[in-house]
Symmetry: C2
Subunit: 174 residues, 2 copies
C-alpha cells in the first residue's frame, strides 16, 4: 500500500486499518484523517505525534492508561489487542518463569501505584531482561518525567505498527 | 454506587466500567480519572465535557468517527458495543422495514460523504421516525454546525450512559 492509497481511504477503512496504532485509542487515527492527504508515511506518523503532543497532560495520561500491563491480566485472560499480543509474545512476556512473572507483577503494581498509569515500553525494541531492568529503573523517576517517557514509547510502538500495517496491506486489498 | 466509590476506583476499574461512555473513546474516561475525586456525577460529566471541548476540531471529528452508523454494518454484523446495540435496538434501528433501511443507508452515506464523519444522535431520546427526519434535515447543515451538533449528541449519550452505569453498579460489586 503506498501513501497515496492510504490518503485516499474513506475514514471508516482508515480507522479499521490504522485505528490501533495507538493502543485502544482509535480517536487519534480518526482525528488525523482530517489532515489527509499525507505525503509520506512519516507525515502520517508526524500528524499522530503532533496530535498527541497538543493533548492536555491528562489526555497523555489517558493514552497511557489505555495500555495493558506487560504480562498482565489481559495477556493472561486472552483479551489483548492483536498487536499487543504479538508484541508481548515477541518479547517473551507470555513465557515468563514463575519468579520473573512474580517480579513483573510486583513492579507493575508499584509503578501503577506510584504514577497512576501503567508502565509502557516498546516491547519490539526490548527483550525480557531489558524490560524488567527498565521497569525497575523507571519506577524511580519523577511522575512528569515518566509521563513523557511513556508517551515517547507510545510513539515508538506507533511507528512500528504503522510500518507493519503499510507493508502488510497490498494495494489490491484496499 | 455513590460518587465517593466512583472516585475511589483505581484507574483500571474506572476505565473498565466507564470506558465507553464516549463510544470507542476510552481515552476520555482514562484522562478524566486524573481529576478525581468527583464531588458528584455531574462533576464527572462536566470533566468529560470539558475534556472534549478543549480537543482540537480534528479531535472532535475523531470522536464522531469512532461512532458506528445507525442501522449500519456494525449493527448488521453484530459488532456494535453493548451500549450502542441496546440504544439502537431501543430506537428500533434493528427492526427497520426494507424501505426504511434503504432510506437510512442512503442518507447515512450522503451525510458521511458531505461531512467526513457519521451522523450521531442520542438514540435513547429519539424514535425511528424522528431519527430519519433529523438525519435528512441535518444533511443540509454547514460542516462546522454539524460537527458541533454531533458533539452535543455525544454528550447526551454520555450523560445517559453514565447514569445507567452508576445505577447498575451496586457498591458491593466494586
Amino acid at each position: 500500500m503506498d501513501i497515496a492509497a492510504v490518503s485516499a481511504l474513506p475514514y471508516e477503512e482508515f480507522v479499521d486499518i490504522f485505528g490501533n496504532v495507538v493502543e485502544n485509542c482509535p480517536i487519534v487515527t480518526a482525528a488525523v484523517w482530517s489532515q489527509r492527504p499525507f505525503v509520506s508515511l512519516s507525515a502520517l506518523e508526524a500528524a499522530i505525534s503532533d496530535f498527541i503532543d497538543v493533548l492536555p497532560e491528562a489526555g497523555k495520561e489517558g493514552i497511557l492508561r489505555c495500555h495493558p500491563d506487560l504480562a498482565g491480566r489481559h495477556l493472561q485472560g486472552g483479551t489483548l489487542t492483536r498487536e499487543s499480543r504479538e508484541e508481548q509474545a515477541g518479547a517473551g512476556m507470555d513465557a515468563l518463569d514463575s519468579s520473573e512473572a512474580s517480579r513483573m507483577s510486583r513492579l507493575n503494581g508499584e509503578y501503577k501505584e506510584r504514577f497512576g498509569f501503567p508502565f509502557v515500553i516498546c516491547a519490539r525494541m526490548n527483550d525480557k531482561a531489558n524490560i524488567l531492568l527498565q521497569l525497575s529503573a523507571r519506577c524511580q523517576n519523577a511522575r512528569a518525567v515518566e509521563r513523557a517517557r511513556g508517551i515517547e514509547e507510545v510513539k515508538k510502538i506507533c511507528r512500528l505498527r504503522l510500518q507493519a500495517l503499510v507493508l502488510n496491506h497490498a494495494p489490491n486489498k484496499l
